[in-house]
């Protein structure tokens, strides 16, 4: 009961504090707002890029075309050789007939042309579809497959895939580094802003201490004030995230450039992001004021 009363009074004091030094509070809030917007953009970018990478990696397949003259035992031999290659996740044999059938099923035009082909006329080849574990080294896998006797051609999204993945990787890393840097800078700025607030109340803190307020008595209102500043500062970034990302998503129909690159669906993504923003705002605000009060608790 006693603790509740003390906390209640502290929350009241914190609210008073925010409004008493409104211009300074506004400076802190704006500072948190700007940081959190950048953090929000980074989070959205970073998670989407991460998502793209996974999608791309899942989709990329090496297709190895086989000489149609090969006998079944030779095909089995090739299969064994592919299975021995490092970095191969899985492989699948697709016969010439299966592929022909699939293509005929998929379009009437194909069907009308292909149904008249005889076995000899059919240019389609038996293939192995190979998926790799590590997309960055897909080219060496492709080379090894090509050297196997009986393989006539090896195809995959040469170059473009690795480039895309490495660009994604760089964007991802830049995002993480900039978020961490920004959070540190903001904590420092908040700490400084609250220091000014506190300096203007130095006399007050001195008096409070002289009449028997404990360090916690003095610190808690400022820490709640920091928490409040952080929470207030996260309002605009949260709204921007929720509306901005939803709008972006629906405008692009959930995909970027090609159906291949899908955006992360807004729910629950925007809500988790909002929670992260609120959390960062609150922690940064509280940490900033904790630091700022410290030096005023002597005498």
């Amino acid at each position: 009961m006693k603790t509740f009363r003390i906390i209640g009074r502290n929350i009241r004091d914190a609210f008073k504090g925010v409004f008493r030094n409104f211009s300074l509070s506004l400076a802190s809030i704006s500072c948190i707002t700007i940081t959190l917007i950048v953090v929000a953009v980074s989070i959205i970018l970073s998670y989407n890029v991460d998502n793209f990478t996974k999608l791309v990696e899942k989709d990329v397949t090496i297709v190895a075309f086989l000489d149609n003259e090969l006998k079944d035992e030779q095909i089995d031999e090739i299969k064994d050789k592919i299975s021995l290659i490092n970095n191969v996740e899985k492989y699948e044999f697709e016969s010439k007939n299966d592929i022909t059938q699939d293509m005929m099923d998929s379009s009437e035009v194909f069907e009308s042309i292909m149904k008249n082909w005889s076995e000899e006329e059919n240019p389609i080849q038996n293939t192995f579809q190979v998926k790799v574990k590590d997309i960055e080294h897909i080219d060496s896998v492709a080379k090894e497959i090509k050297q196997i006797d009986g393989i006539t051609l090896v195809k995959y999204g040469e170059g473009m895939v690795e480039q895309l993945v490495s660009v994604f990787d760089i964007v991802h890393k830049i995002c993480i580094v900039s978020v961490v840097a920004l959070i540190l800078v903001t904590a420092f700025l908040i700490s400084n802003t609250i220091k000014i607030t506190i300096a203007s109340r130095q006399r007050e803190i001195g008096i409070m201490r002289l009449i028997g307020a404990s360090n916690l008595n003095i610190r808690i209102p400022f820490i709640i004030e920091g928490l409040l500043l952080g929470a207030l500062g996260s309002i605009i970034p949260i709204i921007a995230t929720i509306y901005g990302y939803s709008t972006l998503y629906s405008n692009f129909n959930g995909q970027l450039f090609s159906p291949f690159i899908k955006l992360i669906p807004p729910t629950p993504f925007i809500y988790t992001t909002s929670l992260i923003l609120l959390g960062i705002g609150i922690i940064v605000g509280m940490f900033g004021s904790w630091r700022a009060v410290r030096k005023h608790l002597k005498i």
Partner: protein, 227 residues
């Protein structure tokens, strides 16, 4: 029973001024003690060291069994909560009303609101300021501010009340009213140490009187012996 003991206390400020030197003193529970002496003789410095606003440069200060000089910053509040202080410069919170100023000393203990209200009103009535509870310190006269400071110092019934010229800004009539209040509090068991320049009050009250001179005890008059 001894409440305060000072042994060979010395205080030299950073500026090099020695305000207290070789001071020995013992004050018992329940005593009413006046500290007098010319300006700059170290009266304020002496009492500031009792609640650790200032630290002694040398010597030992024991208040209520606690070695005040050795108290860590984070723990000082424990002793301050047992001592009521009327500061020479009042030290009121400028942005808080009279009521809030007095209530604050109770709020830090987490006392219920209505209990705080009752106590604050009672003590403001005692010092004759009940009609000014909504005023801010800047809207009060010096004497009124002084009475707020007294109200705040006594509101939580401290074991020890330290007053640095609590009547410095009051007319003789109000001064004697305040002295009556202090005397009553003293009778209820609170030890009182009061710094004053008013010889009239000292003579009127007939209490123990300690005379300081250049940071030393010049004379220590037993109760009723100061003329």
């Amino acid at each position: 029973m001894e409440l305060i003991r000072l042994v060979n206390v010395k205080k030299t400020y950073k500026t090099g001024v020695t305000a207290i030197q070789g001071l020995n003193l013992s004050i018992n529970k329940g005593e009413f003690v006046f500290i007098i002496g010319s300006t700059g003789c170290g009266k304020s410095t002496l009492i500031k060291m009792l609640y650790r606003e200032e630290k002694p440069t040398a010597g030992q200060i024991i208040v209520g069994g606690i070695d005040v000089g050795k108290l860590r910053n984070g723990k000082v509040y424990k002793i301050r909560r047992k001592i009521g202080v009327v500061f020479q410069d009042y030290k009121l919170l400028p942005k808080s009303t009279v009521y809030e100023n007095v209530a604050f000393a109770l709020e830090i203990f987490g006392i219920p609101k209505d209990e705080i209200h009752a106590k604050v009103i009672k003590v403001l009535e005692l010092v004759g300021l009940k009609h000014k509870i909504k005023s801010y310190p800047a809207q009060l006269s010096g004497g009124e501010q002084q009475r707020v400071a007294i109200a705040r110092a006594i509101v939580n019934g401290p074991k020890l009340l330290i007053c640095d010229e609590p009547t410095g800004n009051l007319d003789p009539k109000t001064s004697m009213e305040i002295m009556t209040v202090l005397e009553e509090i003293n009778k209820l068991g609170t030890t009182i140490i009061m710094v004053t320049h008013s010889i009239d009050i000292v003579k009127e009250m007939n209490k123990r009187v300690i005379v300081l001179d250049s940071g030393r005890v010049l004379k220590d008059y037993e109760k009723g012996t100061y003329r």
